[in-house]
Subunit: 136 residues, 2 copies
Amino acid sequence: MNEHVHTTQDLTKNQSLVMGALSRSDGPLSAYTILDQLRDDGFRAPLQVYRALDKLVEFGLVHRLESLNAFVACRHPGCDDHETVAFMICETCGQVNEISDNTLAKQLKRLATDAGFALKKSTVELRGICSACAAA
Amino acid sequence: MNEHVHTTQDLTKNQSLVMGALSRSDGPLSAYTILDQLRDDGFRAPLQVYRALDKLVEFGLVHRLESLNAFVACRHPGCDDHETVAFMICETCGQVNEISDNTLAKQLKRLATDAGFALKKSTVELRGICSACAAA
DNA sequence: AGTGTCACGTTATTTTGTTACACGATTGCG
DNA sequence: CGCAATCGTGTAACAAAATAACGTGACACT
């Protein structure tokens, strides 16, 4: 097993449960929503969720949406560049679309470099109305 | 007076106080930090701060930093494109640099358009180490 | 046995943000 | 004028999001 790429099998029980909840969901979930969903599985405190989430984010299996205070399962786990991903968030239906645009990533890095800024992580979250909702 | 561009004179008392606190500060402030700073001016409840902040953001005088749950005074108030601004946030000193890059703005819009996504607002927050802190 | 590490569990607390309700000032209008 | 509508304000209570502090058990390694 590769030491960097984590799959479901590497996960601890709590991490698997949280990952499962996020995978089942078609949209982002808040930590407390996850907690509620996992009560029957023995979850009792927010910290249990947050600890699992921290690890899952670290593994690149989950993304945090800063503008929503919520989390989503990564659509392309295993891809390297988890520091430069963009999201399109529909304000009508709540659906989140994960985009991996190389040009954008490069541009952000260039912007940072030009300013002498050592970029660690970039948060790009686009808010608007998705095509499906616009049509409806 | 232009009906879209707001200046300090348009602001209500509370809005002015909050704007003043943000302008005085050299970095981002949380709503509750602002509240504490304005206790002597009669502020008592978070809602007073949030209401003022909402308006100031609406006016384009203040930006909200989603990844920090904090707020900063806009460096170039009066500029149109308050929906596509990027921030570089130094994780060492906490300084925030506001960037208005036209190429980036266009690219984000193109990304959205290509996906049939009606972009309303984009959040771009780059985390890393600023040049000053890297040198030190 | 001793040590370090890691995930886990529990309680309490802090930080952040919102809901609900009421009051006063202003504006617009019949 | 009188009256509704709007807007900013004030207060209290509350909900949501995140963390602090402390302790336990499992496991590996020496």
